[in-house]
Symmetry: C2
């Protein structure tokens, strides 16, 4: 048996984590040979519910689950963590302004960034799931000066998977026959799901659909899919978000399939003229535990406009939280 | 790629199914090479919520998920099903008598038994999760005269896993180091979790614990674990029940590990002097898609008394539903 790896999960008593933890413990993240220790973080009022989740994890007798810790202290939860899934965030309450949402979460993620900086394994990989995910990742990374920005990402895989499935359905083929979907920008309604480079059974998917369907149906449907799920299910996406978190972290850690890529929000290096430092979703490949932004894709004017809109939103979000990122300015 | 198998799940919009479906679609039940088609059954008022669950399943773009159907008709949901997980049942409402609970569920499971009889694959394996699980399995099997009783089982794996984990915790070892736990009887508070034959790192576990701990702590703790989880989590066990359903069906289909067994409620053949025909949990091994009750274990007087108590409860449950099982009398 390999030595266990430490996986920290925040918001561990919440709905997404409830769909996530049991799959991680079953081996869905790192495979059936890799023991894991779960290090679970919650806020004090949720610790009793978390105790119930831990009871259920114990009750599964998962062969790969080597241990569980719980804490309401981020430093303890992140101690020596090899992977950190930052799922917990403050949800938008009734009448809450977007600026206040950004600031409240900014305070959470700046603290978690510092705790990761001070306590996590030096090779830690951090995936931010809690919204606003891109800006939360930006803040966490900015507050972790001893870690590399490339150790942080925000989750875009749910959007990527949704776009892949939606296009496959339109074309009447299985989603596994779609490759090279790309979702650019922010995990928000400004995201740009882009089929310009997508292949359907190896052929250019863009040639198979009408522009009208793309603009009036596909792009808005992916941008607003979360709201559509809430409307039908009466609750926000949890199991599909958990599945996407597993997909993104697994591919980051273990590598993307050959001849394909995934969408992942990472620190911009200026590729595609996106402002450096923003956590922006690009198509990336992964190998050896590192991601590489896919270079030199042709970008149409249609795409460029949409990539700018979502970039602008991320710039505005950064402005709203600038007091929380002193570290990045130094 | 292998041809897809059809997996029917009832109560598909409920909490256990929400924890179950995504794991099945990810390959946790039948492995990473076996495509699956999910055939989901719900009652009409839950069809809109089920539509939301299906949206989320689509949004995952699971490579192994070859299709999804939904219906409020059991015959449609069970059509050609290779596996059926009967998760949905009527929960006990406030002030409801146990007899009424048995009868209401009896009506559901007699109908589902007939639908399985008429529509499922001839080799279907049926796992009843919905409570009262043993008697529901008894009723379903009794109403499926063209299928063999050995194609039905009720879930005892949650109790088995809980007992394994609990004993391991007491002994300060990992639960994977415990083998040959047995849970006898009914999935209820009368169940008898039995460590008489259990091995801890290959040694007799019974010799490592006090009788007082066994009688006053271990047995009641396993019997009442469900209530303890509800108290802590504020909701009944869902993800651990889903994990146990996967474990039980997987081991039944693909085989139990060498030198170990599992606990599974199956149609008694009179082994251990348990009344034939009752769906009673025994230690079983599985291979080639069939279970075999473990024979000739020494049963102490202590064990015998507890095995009788839970047998008696199953006999009483059968009496309460006898109008629903004409087929079994013929």
């Amino acid at each position: 048996m390999q030595a266990p790896v430490r996986i920290a999960v925040t918001g561990a008593a919440g709905n997404i984590s409830y769909a996530l933890l049991f799959r991680i413990a079953a081996g869905d993240l790192l495979g059936g040979e890799q023991p894991v220790i779960l290090q679970l973080l919650e806020i004090p009022p949720a610790m009793e519910a978390l105790r119930g989740v831990v009871m259920e994890l114990e009750d599964c007798a998962f062969p790969l689950l080597a241990g569980i810790t719980t804490s309401d202290d981020a430093g303890a939860a992140f101690a020596d963590a090899d992977y950190a899934l930052l799922v917990g965030s403050k949800p938008r309450g009734p009448g809450m302004e977007r600026g206040d949402l950004l600031k409240d979460n900014g305070a959470i993620f700046s603290g978690q960034g510092r705790a990761l900086n001070d306590h996590a394994a030096r090779s830690v990989k951090v995936l931010v799931v809690g919204n606003p995910a891109n800006t939360n990742a930006f803040i966490a990374a900015a507050n972790a000066p001893d870690l590399d920005r490339s150790q942080f990402s925000a989750m875009m895989r749910l959007d990527h998977n949704r776009a892949t499935a939606h296009l496959a359905q339109k074309l009447g083929i299985h989603h596994a026959d779609i490759r090279k979907m790309a979702v650019w920008g922010n995990h928000s309604a400004t995201q740009y799901p882009d089929i310009s480079h997508a292949l359907a059974k190896g052929e250019r998917a863009r040639d198979m659909v009408e522009s009208q369907w793309l603009e009036e149906h596909f792009i808005p449907a992916i941008q607003q899919r979360g709201a559509a799920v809430i409307k039908a299910r009466g609750a926000s996406s949890a199991a599909s978000a958990a599945a996407a978190a597993i997909d993104q972290m697994r591919d980051w850690a273990l590598g993307t399939p050959p001849d394909d890529w995934i969408s992942m929000a990472v620190c911009s290096d200026g590729s595609y003229d996106i402002e450096p430092g923003l956590f922006y979703s690009f198509p990336v490949t992964c190998d050896g535990g590192r991601y590489h932004i896919v270079r030199d894709l042709d970008i149409s004017d249609f795409s460029r406009r949409r990539m700018r809109i979502t970039e602008r939103e991320l710039q505005e979000e950064r402005e709203a939280v600038k007091g929380l990122v002193q570290v990045v300015q130094s």
